[in-house]
């Protein structure tokens, strides 16, 4: 790997041991992928570190103690608890305390404690063509596809990228890896984010780590594309897709395939959409004790929509309704009265966390001597949450669009 003089100085420790450590890991990564050079990154979205995984917060504290500071704008991923209203979801106080410790470590390191999976809804919108380093598959695919920024499917190394301001030019940072591999024809009207999610889940299971190119999608909303991407990255390893005419890198189908002829078309009709949602459904009973909305974290407008659906009504006594969002959307929901409406109805507007990564995971419960599942049947509007919650929380699952989820939260029963 060819390094600039400055990069060599970083690696040799001339700017401190932390940057040398970060560079040494980044060089190893670059070499593994035959990277030829490093690039400067403009932004990083990193894993926060979770008290549920041994040693992670301690490791950050150790780095912070040595003076580690990020050198690019850096946001951070969801954590296992809500630090704003922990008691509303019965978050264990000791876990809350651990993550308050994390918060102060992050402050010390210059990391913005967004605790979000969708930082691009909160002002972190890297321009098309910029190099960034992001973890969180739902964010990665949005950055690459919808914004046209360039990131790999990064993991823990975002931390080192943020400390050095560098990343090896490999994978999706190289233009030749961003071209289409599969052509998908959507032959159905998609009327909800959940249906976009179903399309993503179906296509992801076929294309694996490919770059699907969609035709037949007309004027999707931001929330639709958040679902589409999250699902593509859940059933597959998709980090990038194109919708010619809509996403920025490809004006036409021909351009998406680099003017090579498009491969055989994968059709998606109502049939595949219904079948995908049906296959995600594992519940034998229509009674739901948990309705979760907000994977990926809801935007302000999605919170508004739930408030409108639930205003003046009451969540069923046997059912918990959580709406996952982030602090910035929460602040706006407070100002606009959406939070009040949801709270009065018995719902909880949750920040910072996400069920499948939370203290409600079976492994987290087991550590507290509790046997799970905490909730038996989860109804959600998100195929991503459905798949992971089934695995990590042991919930039986139903997936349906938001208005039907809200109705079920009120009646305690899904009208399938």
């Amino acid at each position: 790997m060819k390094l600039t003089d400055h990069e060599r100085r970083l690696l040799n420790g001339e700017e401190g041991e932390i940057k040398a450590l970060a560079m040494s890991y980044l060089v190893k990564l670059g070499n593994a992928f035959d990277g030829e050079e490093m690039v400067d990154i403009l932004y990083a979205h990193m894993s926060s570190g979770s008290a549920l995984r041994e040693g992670e917060i301690d490791y950050l504290e150790e780095l912070a103690g040595k003076g580690a500071k990020v050198v690019v704008p850096t946001t951070s991923e969801v954590i296992p608890v809500d630090l704003l209203n922990p008691e509303a979801i019965y978050a264990p106080p000791d876990l809350v305390a651990e993550h308050l410790r994390l918060l102060s470590i992050q402050k010390q390191m210059g990391i913005v404690s967004t605790y979000t999976c969708v930082p691009f809804t909160q002002g972190f919108v890297p321009p098309a063509g910029s190099y960034i380093a992001s973890m969180e598959t739902a964010a990665i695919i949005y950055f690459n596809s919808v914004l046209g920024a360039k990131t790999n499917r990064c993991g823990y190394f975002v931390l080192y990228a943020a400390l050095a301001g560098k990343y090896p030019k490999i994978g999706y940072l190289l233009d030749e890896n961003r071209k289409g591999t599969h052509l998908v024809s959507v032959e159905a009207e998609l009327s909800s984010p959940t249906e976009y999610g179903a399309v993503g889940f179906y296509v992801g299971s076929i294309v694996g780590s490919g770059v699907p190119v969609f035709k037949g999608i007309k004027q999707p909303r931001q929330e639709d594309l958040m679902q589409l991407g999250a699902a593509l990255a859940t059933s597959g390893t998709v980090a990038m897709y194109h919708i010619p005419g809509i996403t920025p890198e490809t004006p036409t189908i021909e351009a998406a395939f680099n003017n090579h002829s498009a491969p055989e078309t994968i059709p998606v009709t109502k049939k595949e959409i219904h079948k995908t949602l049906e296959q995600l459904c594992t519940a034998k009973s229509p009674f739901v004790d948990f309705v979760f909305l907000g994977c990926p974290q809801y935007t302000v407008d999605q919170v508004r929509r739930v408030a409108a659906l639930i205003e003046g009504r009451k969540v069923h006594e046997n059912t918990a309704l959580w709406i996952g969002t982030n602090r910035m959307a929460f602040a706006m929901a407070e100002r606009m009265g959406y939070h009040d409406i949801i709270k009065k109805a018995g719902g909880v507007l949750v920040c910072d966390t996400c069920p499948m990564l939370s203290f409600l995971r079976l492994d987290a419960l087991a550590k507290r001597g509790m046997s799970g599942p905490y909730f038996h049947t989860m109804l959600t509007d998100s195929p991503k949450q459905a798949k992971y919650a089934h695995m990590t929380m042991g919930c039986e699952i139903i997936v349906d669009r938001v208005d039907r989820c809200v109705e079920a939260a009120i009646s305690g029963q899904w009208e399938g």
Binding site: Y25, A32, F33, R53, C154, G155, F157, T237, M356
Partner: protein, 138 residues
């Protein structure tokens, strides 16, 4: 090609390892599909309950959430990491990050069909520097 004949792969991360093969025909995720003790926890999976600890893990490619990298690091801390990882179809940066942190040798892109040659339980040797994988015994 069988016992003793090395198969050339691309060496991704250096290091030598020896262990019993665990051969999976489908992608697997270290986040959610393998637990913190290193056991496969996918319901209905052919190897559900099987541990990846000390095994030479052979499978097509990584999939799923980017938390997988941190899980591999945790497995290393707990002494439950695989001895080596061989991905046959694709190389996922997130998994490579995990393997760097966990110090697990890694190979990719074998020049022969490993699934024809190596079965679960075979004793194999891996060299991440040269990219060679060798079946030592059944």
């Amino acid at each position: 090609m069988s016992r003793g004949t090395p198969i050339q792969c691309k060496g991704i991360l250096p290091g030598k390892a020896k262990g019993r093969a665990l051969v999976l025909r489908n992608p697997i995720s270290f986040q959610g599909e393998i637990d913190e003790e290193g056991n496969i926890v996918v319901r209905g999976h052919a190897y559900v309950g099987e541990s990846v600890a000390g095994r030479v893990l052979i499978y097509p490619e990584a999939k799923g959430s980017s938390g997988g990298c941190m899980m591999l690091r945790l497995l290393a801390k707990r002494g439950k990491k695989p001895a080596a990882i061989v991905n046959t179809r694709n190389l996922d940066p997130n998994l490579v990050e995990g393997a760097i942190l966990a110090d697990v040798p890694m190979l990719c892109f074998p020049q022969s069909d490993l699934y024809e040659i190596i079965s679960t339980g075979d004793l194999v040797e891996v060299d991440g520097e040269t990219g060679l994988i060798t079946k030592l015994s059944d």
